[in-house]
């Protein structure tokens, strides 16, 4: 791929970032991570408290990416078929079937937005697993393809009533799980409360220009981008050590306060997970106008791509967010490069 193409796409990506950052203020890092996921062709799970802007953020990105956009709300009574079709009684008094959110946009579906995913039943998660992994669905005796689809999902980590924990297999399908926290900058906090611009979400999202990216070219470009950014032997060795450390942190002297490290990790990062780290790191290098991956690129995406893949002992599951963050930071501190 020519340098010009890389530069053009980078400009588009940075423009998208810029526009989204105007809509969702104080979230530069999550915005960068979501941009990275889009170009690494990975699904994104946002996690955060109620009302911190998760949905707004995803909607803003969706508008900028272009293509078909579908959305569904996770509820306890949501069934898998609700994603595929609707049945209703028509004006003629006869039952009718129409395409559900997954099928409605056909192959042009670029963003499937699953709001409050943890309120959906495991059956729904199960369907989503296949769609996310294979980007296909069998319905009405036909195979449907969604080659450009990205799943954006969010979940409320505070509320536990009428929710279902997302199994590790489903979590592993997401390239990144990105925590969204309220900005601590006083000026931003003030503007979020007093600036009326932030009170009308629809108008706010509508301020993002549509179709900043050509969604149907993203797959091709992403593949070329991955081939354009190199990873040196030293970096490969570094990444392998990081991987090993997620499996056996004690071998690398990694410690987390108040945690028995010998009992903590049941399963470290998966090969798919580490592959996604590299994909995301390559995109990050490209966004920073580099032709090779640096350890800093890995660090930028490491927490978001690995934390949700770790499987801890049940006794530590309640504190997984805090422990995973501390453990991954300790791993980065412990592993040297070269």
């Amino acid at each position: 791929m020519s340098d010009t193409q890389l530069a053009d796409w980078r400009n588009h990506a940075l423009t998208l970032e810029l526009e989204v950052n105007k809509v969702v203020v104080g979230q530069e890092n999550p915005v960068r991570l979501i941009t990275t996921s889009i170009f690494a062709r990975g699904h994104v799970l946002l996690e955060g408290d109620v009302g911190v802007g998760k949905t707004t953020l995803l909607r803003a990105f969706t508008r900028g990416i272009g293509g078909g956009y579908q959305r569904i709300e996770g509820t306890i009574d949501l069934m898998p078929n609700d994603l595929v079709y609707h049945t209703y009684l028509g004006e003629d008094g006869k039952p009718h079937v129409s395409a559900g959110p997954l099928l409605m946009s056909g192959e042009n579906l670029s963003v499937f937005f699953f709001n409050e995913i943890n309120r959906a039943r495991p059956q729904v998660h199960s369907l989503l697993l296949r769609v996310m992994a294979e980007r296909t669905l069998t319905a009405f005796n036909k195979e449907h393809y969604f080659p450009h689809m990205l799943v954006f999902a969010d979940r409320n980590q505070v509320e536990k009533e009428e929710t279902f924990d997302i199994p590790s297999a489903a979590r592993d399908r997401f390239m990144m799980e990105i925590p969204i926290v309220v900005p601590t900058d006083a000026a931003i906090m003030e503007s979020l409360v007093f600036d009326t611009r932030f009170h009308d979400m629809d108008a706010l999202v509508a301020s993002v220009p549509e179709d900043l990216l050509q969604f149907d070219q993203l797959n091709t470009f992403a593949a070329r981008l991955q081939n354009s950014i190199t990873a040196s032997p030293t970096l490969r060795s570094y990444v392998l050590n990081l991987w090993r450390a997620t499996k056996t942190p004690t071998d690398f002297g990694v410690k987390v306060s108040g945690v028995d490290m010998n009992r903590l990790v049941l399963s470290g990062a998966s090969p798919r997970g580490m592959g996604m780290v590299l994909r995301a790191a390559r995109v990050n290098a490209w966004l920073n106008n580099r032709a090779a991956v640096l350890p800093e690129d890995i660090h930028e995406v490491f927490h978001a791509t690995i934390a949700h893949r770790l499987v801890f002992s049940p006794v530590y599951e309640m504190r997984r967010t805090e422990i995973a963050r501390e453990m991954l930071s300790a791993i980065i501190n412990a592993i040297a490069t070269p």
């Binding site: 991956v293 040297a336 490069t337």
Partner: protein, 326 residues
């Protein structure tokens, strides 16, 4: 004859020494006698009971010969001005060697001290006077064996003694007060040592000085030995990385450099150099096409950079302007 006999009787009766004993004979001509003597090896520190050996070797040329009866007698108590000196000859033995024109007599004399005093006092092994007879004319002459002077010391110090005048062997010689000079000398040596250590500290290459075993000091020594090749450069950069990580207590990257400098402000002066180093590391390990923007040999720059880090490590201000390669 009768008168003479009466005189002798009177002399005995009144305790008068016979006149013949006081007869002073003429001295022998020195060319007929030669003398060597072996005296005690020291001339002081003798106390009561000590024994002094003296060996006299006399060579008497013909026509004179020794009158053996004139040799000193064992047990004879020497007197000086009528007082017993307290030094007694306790043994005498002789050897004789006859030559063509002379006879050699070796006299082994052993004296013992039977006197002492409150202070050290001078004493002498007396000068023995022996007689020589002319074999042809019966002429008798005398020869005086020189005395040997020494000091007798008391067994202990009695009463109040002026130490400066005391010559007892049990008292150490008095010394001049050199404490002030000694203090000056010690201070000077101390200052000189500190100055030398300072110089070694700054310019030295050895690990035994304080902080010489610190990470960058070691790295500096290691890098100097590495070859100026691509492989050597990789090793050198990796070596600096190790020291940086060790100093930081965790892996140090460009992204957490600010935290490192906050924890270790001594390294703030070399912030830009550290950033350059990360660029160099990027070129060496991750992105060969990246430009390190160093206007000199990588090895030379790395060596100087490591020295600057070492200076920071020691709390010194690195000379960032100097382009001298060390």
């Amino acid at each position: 004859m009768r008168t003479r006999f009466l005189l002798v009787i009177c002399a005995i009766a009144f305790g008068i020494q016979p006149a013949i004993a006081d007869v002073i004979l003429p001295d022998v001509n020195a060319k007929y006698v030669s003398l060597t003597q072996e005296n005690p090896t020291r001339d002081a520190g003798f106390v009561v009971g000590d024994v002094l050996n003296r060996t006299i070797t006399l060579t008497i040329k013909k026509p004179y010969e020794l009158v053996k009866e004139s040799l000193p007698i064992k047990g004879y108590e020497h007197r000086y001005r009528g007082q017993i000196s307290g030094i007694e000859l306790v043994k005498i033995s002789t050897e004789e060697a006859i030559h063509i024109d002379s006879v050699t007599h070796v006299l082994h004399l052993r004296y013992q001290i039977f006197t002492t005093g409150k202070l050290a006092k001078p004493a002498a092994l007396r000068a023995e006077i022996i007689k020589l007879r002319h074999s042809g004319s019966k002429e008798v002459v005398q020869y005086r064996i020189p005395s040997y002077g020494f000091r007798i010391s008391p067994l202990s110090v009695f009463g109040s003694v002026k130490l400066k005048e005391e010559m007892s062997p049990f008292i150490r010689p008095l010394r001049l007060d050199a404490s002030q000079d000694r203090l000056h000398l010690e201070i000077s040596i101390g200052l000189l040592s500190i100055a030398l250590l300072g110089l070694l500290y700054i310019f030295g290459m050895h690990a035994w000085l304080p902080r010489m075993g610190a990470p960058f000091a070691k790295a500096y020594r290691d890098i100097r030995k590495m070859p100026n090749t691509d492989e050597g450069l990789q090793k050198a950069v990796a070596r600096v990385h190790i020291s940086l990580n060790k100093t930081a207590g965790s892996s140090l990257f460009n992204s957490n450099l600010a935290d490192f400098l906050q924890k270790k402000p001594a390294f703030t002066p070399v912030k830009q150099e550290i950033e350059k180093f990360f660029t160099l590391s990027r070129q060496v390990f991750f992105e060969p096409n990246a430009l390190a923007n160093l206007d000199e040999s990588h090895k030379v720059w790395l060596q100087r950079f490591c020295r600057h880090l070492r200076d920071c490590e020691r709390g010194l201000n690195p000379d960032l302007k100097s382009k001298v390669s060390y």
